[in-house]
């Protein structure tokens, strides 16, 4: 009879990693093949396997792959009702056959041949597992989570910190996709593993914007629900679990607090500093442009008049004697030296906040009596001037409290490794203003030095608000600039959004590492997620919180990983107030 048993000693299969044989009833290829599983073995999604194939004239080739689907069927059943005959009546001989679909990740040595039918399929463990995941070829493998087998999964930092690629993009449904949690988890590993990060670890600075709730205001506090199982997972990743050791918290001042500057936060006051800009800083840093970040602003000539006014303010502003941070506007023709202070003339308007600044600008561009000063308006049409002034007033109303004279309360990103800026209480306009101001500051600093190190990481959720696909704004332009040039300047963006399809494509395309949590079913079908395998896409709507799909240039297939519970609190109720140190003795 015809018997094509593979010529291998059967005895050797007793105590090895064999799980089955390459299916011989359909073609194997260099992309995929199927495994028929042994009776006493199993494979689940994302398991890693290896097949050894003898190639004529070349020798042994190892084919590595990842399980993308598993299946089972009754062999011998030709009709649906045969299921009953086999399972219930037992009158029809039939056998359950289980198989798994494998997407090939790697062939080593690189000889692109398909695995032989009947070839023995083994679970890839240890060094074989590392090869299946290209860990052996990664310059600096950083563990970024645990695979389904409980072993670490790695990302090559060369593709994050700018050496070969930069930036990370995280997509997923709000609430269950745990985008921010993953970003912080990743940054904790990044900062806790200087042995992997190398030179970039020194003076690493992380800027995080808290845009919803107060989730991020407890990064320095222990989480009382952190348990033993989570501890084990963290140790698997080579990091002693603990809250972020060095964090500074910043919040805008309360609006109705008079002269006292109190941070506008709910659950936490202690250790949170209020931030403001003085009129001098506002003018000097050219922050006026970040009052015009609505995507529709760029359709008319507002950017033109804004640019003119910004330049004029820088020429006209003069410090006021005895009023730090305040300025008066005087024509440079009057001859004040740069950096000098003046005593204001009687009746001269002293600019101590945004409201007075707006009033002063209005006097130049749209005076109640008389003609607009064309040096300030740049001869734009009257309608544009009105629109400009209207927006100025609206900005003054919404974020006026962020600008006030007095001592400098600018956010100091050098104060701690992680800087958390709480902007959740601000109006959209205010949020965009703060993000724009800080990104500009960060980027300008790095542009001046031209050095990649020290690294500066920016975490920004709801990226679609700052860099929407449609329209233009100074903020979007800056984010695109960071996405395109930040890699070489060591400014790394960790952006998160519900739908990648609503974020500027230039920003998305430049992210070397792409991550997705649970996705909306329709969203998962979009081309922005073309990096996922069809099977992964189908599964993306089922991902649990704490499970992410990660794609990186070093690996041809996306990996599914889990990341452990955070040792830091994410709500006030989670803060461990006990004196007992749960991490002692670990």
């Amino acid at each position: 009879m015809t018997d094509n048993r593979a010529n291998e000693p059967a005895a050797a299969e007793a105590d090895d990693n064999g799980v089955g044989r390459v299916l011989g009833t359909e073609h194997t290829s260099t992309r995929e093949f199927r495994v028929v599983l042994d009776e006493a073995e199993y494979l689940q999604l994302d398991d890693l396997v290896v097949v050894r194939t003898q190639v004529p004239k070349q020798g042994e080739v190892h084919t590595y792959g990842i399980v993308t689907e598993v299946a089972a069927i009754y062999e011998g059943a030709n009709f649906e009702s045969d299921t009953h005959r086999i399972a219930v009546e037992g009158t029809l001989p039939g056998a359950k056959v289980r198989s798994a679909e494998i997407a090939i990740t790697r062939v080593d040595p690189e000889l692109w041949v398909s695995p032989d039918p009947g070839g023995k399929v083994e679970r890839a463990k240890g060094a074989e597992r590392d090869k299946a995941l290209y860990v052996d070829e990664m310059g600096r493998p950083l563990p970024i989570g645990l695979g389904r087998d409980g072993e670490p999964v790695y990302a090559d930092l060369d593709f994050f910190d700018g050496r070969k690629g930069g930036h990370m993009s995280i997509s997923g449904i709000s609430g269950v996709a745990t985008k921010t949690s993953f970003a912080l988890f990743f940054l904790r590993l990044l900062s806790a593993r200087p042995d992997v990060l190398g030179e970039g670890a020194a003076n690493l600075r992380i800027l995080v914007f808290n845009v919803k709730g107060e989730d991020l205001l407890w990064l320095d506090k222990k989480n009382r629900y952190f348990d033993r199982a989570a501890t084990d997972s963290w140790q698997q990743l080579g990091v002693a679990p603990g809250p972020f050791p060095s964090v500074s918290f910043w919040a805008p001042p309360r609006t109705q607090s008079g002269d006292a500057v109190i941070p506008d936060t709910g659950g936490r006051q202690e250790g949170v500093a209020a931030f403001t800009w003085t009129p001098r800083e506002f003018i000097e840093d050219g922050l006026l442009r970040f009052l015009f970040t609505d995507a529709t602003d760029s359709r008319n000539q507002i950017p033109f008049i804004e640019e003119r006014v910004r330049a004029q303010l820088q020429r006209f502003a003069v410090d006021v004697e005895g009023r730090p941070g305040a300025v008066v506007l005087r024509d440079p023709i009057e001859g004040h030296a740069p950096g000098s202070s003046v005593v204001p003339n009687p009746g001269e308007r002293i600019i101590g906040d945004l409201k007075s600044l707006v009033t002063a600008v209005e006097e130049f561009v749209d005076p109640e009596d008389g003609e607009p000063d064309q040096k300030w308006t740049g001869r734009v049409q009257a309608g544009t001037v009105s629109a400009f002034v209207r927006r100025l007033h609206s900005a003054s109303h919404r974020l006026g409290h962020l600008v006030r004279a007095g001592e400098s309360r600018q956010i100091d990103r050098r104060a701690a490794q992680v800087t958390v800026v709480a902007i959740q209480t601000l109006h959209d306009l205010g949020q965009r203003f703060v993000v724009g101001a800080l990104l500009a500051e960060t980027f300008a600093e790095k542009e001046q030095t031209g050095q990649r190190l020290p690294l500066s990481v920016i975490v920004l959720d709801e990226l679609n608000k700052y860099a929407p696909r449609e329209g233009n704004s100074p903020l979007k332009e800056m984010l695109i600039d960071i996405a395109q040039r930040g890699r070489s300047l060591g400014v790394l963006l960790v952006g998160a959004q519900q739908s990648a399809s609503r974020v500027a494509s230039e920003v998305m395309e430049n992210a070397a590492i792409r991550v997705a949590g649970r996705l909306d079913a329709a969203e998962a079908e979009r081309s922005e997620y073309g990096w996922m395998l069809p099977s992964t896409r189908a599964r993306a709507r089922l991902l649990k919180p704490g499970t992410m799909v990660v794609s990186q240039p070093a690996l041809p297939v996306p990996l599914v990983l889990e990341f452990p519970f955070p040792p830091w609190a994410t709500r006030k109720e989670e803060v461990d107030t006990s004196d007992v140190d749960p991490f002692s003795g670990l």
Binding site: T2, G76, N78, S81, R85, I86, E89, G90, P93, G94
Partner: protein, 315 residues
């Protein structure tokens, strides 16, 4: 010895030979051994038999051969057959194949013979018969399969299994071995007795009658119905069974009752099997499996041709 050739035309061509015809006999029938008088249907009784082994075989002519001898061409055939069993374990509620065997045989006529050059995977035994009639060649080949079936049935029955074998039985061993005949070519019942078939319902049987008396293998036989169908004729869904008369009449009755009760459980469905319900589910599966194990016909034919051609070159 002459040169061996594999003929190019379809192997089964020109052989509409009913190979089991010879086994059917209509001789004297004793229809009084169980019930002496008017017949009425007898309801089957499931005695809870734990395992039933269904035995069957399949065959296929792989190629026609011609041996080019000095005194003229000698016809031959070569074919593959498989026999095996399905053991239905009613307690474990499952069925498994058992004792599957595939054999390949070449038969030459005219008392001549030639070895078939072996291929790496396909090896034919070679036999010869004195006749030259192609039908007789096939008869010999078919007989080899029937013998293998009988050997397997006897082996299983000797091992204590209750065996249901496809086709008539022809031996005298007093084991629990039932011959299962799907078609009704020879009339065994008198016109008067035949009328009972209109009244036999599913799960019932006729009384036993003795056939083959005076022949080599007298058997007890009975008819039973597998399924009631509204639109069928009085013989639709009916099969005939037989057991060796070496068994006691009581033993034969017990087996007949068991068959009437149990066999209807494994009858096939008309929309699945054109030979339903007589072609039993386990037997259909067994035939499918055996056919699969005979190997792909095109592959076997090609291997045979290349083996014969290779031998010719070497010679």
């Amino acid at each position: 010895m002459g040169q061996l050739h594999v003929e190019g035309w379809a192997p089964e061509y020109g052989s509409p030979y009913e190979t089991d015809e010879a086994l059917a006999d209509s001789g004297k029938v004793d229809d009084t051994i169980e019930v002496d008088g008017p017949w009425s249907p007898i309801r089957g009784v499931d005695d809870g038999v734990g395992q039933i082994a269904f035995v069957d075989g399949v065959r296929r002519i792989d190629a026609r051969l011609t041996l080019d001898e000095a005194d003229g061409p000698v016809p031959g055939i070569c074919g593959s057959y498989g026999v095996g069993a399905v053991v239905w374990d009613r307690d474990a509620v499952r069925s498994d194949f058992a004792d599957l065997l595939v054999d390949r045989l070449a038969v030459f006529g005219n008392g001549c013979g030639a070895p078939i050059p072996p291929d790496t995977q396909i090896v034919y035994r070679s036999e010869s018969i004195p006749e030259t009639d192609p039908g007789m060649l096939i008869q010999r080949f078919h007989g080899a399969m029937r013998k293998a079936e009988a050997r397997l049935s006897e082996k299983l029955a000797q091992g204590g299994q209750f065996v249901v074998a496809d086709g008539p039985i022809n031996d005298l061993s007093a084991t629990e071995k039932v011959g299962y005949i799907k078609t009704h070519r020879a009339p065994y019942l008198s016109q008067e007795k035949s009328a009972i078939m209109g009244r036999v319902r599913a799960g019932e049987r006729t009384p036993l009658f003795l056939i083959g008396q005076g022949g080599a293998y007298p058997r007890y036989s009975w008819y039973q119905r597998l399924v009631d169908s509204a639109d069928g004729h009085s013989w639709s869904g009916v099969v005939r069974c037989e057991v060796s008369s070496a068994l006691t009449l009581e033993h034969a009755q017990r087996i007949a009752n068991r068959m009437a009760a149990v066999l209807q459980l494994v009858g096939s469905e008309a929309h699945i099997d054109p030979r339903a319900p007589q072609n039993l589910v386990p037997i259909a599966a067994l035939e499918r499996e055996l056919r699969r194990r005979l190997g792909d016909p095109a592959f076997v034919y090609r291997a045979l041709r290349s083996a014969v051609a290779g031998a010719a070159v070497e010679a």
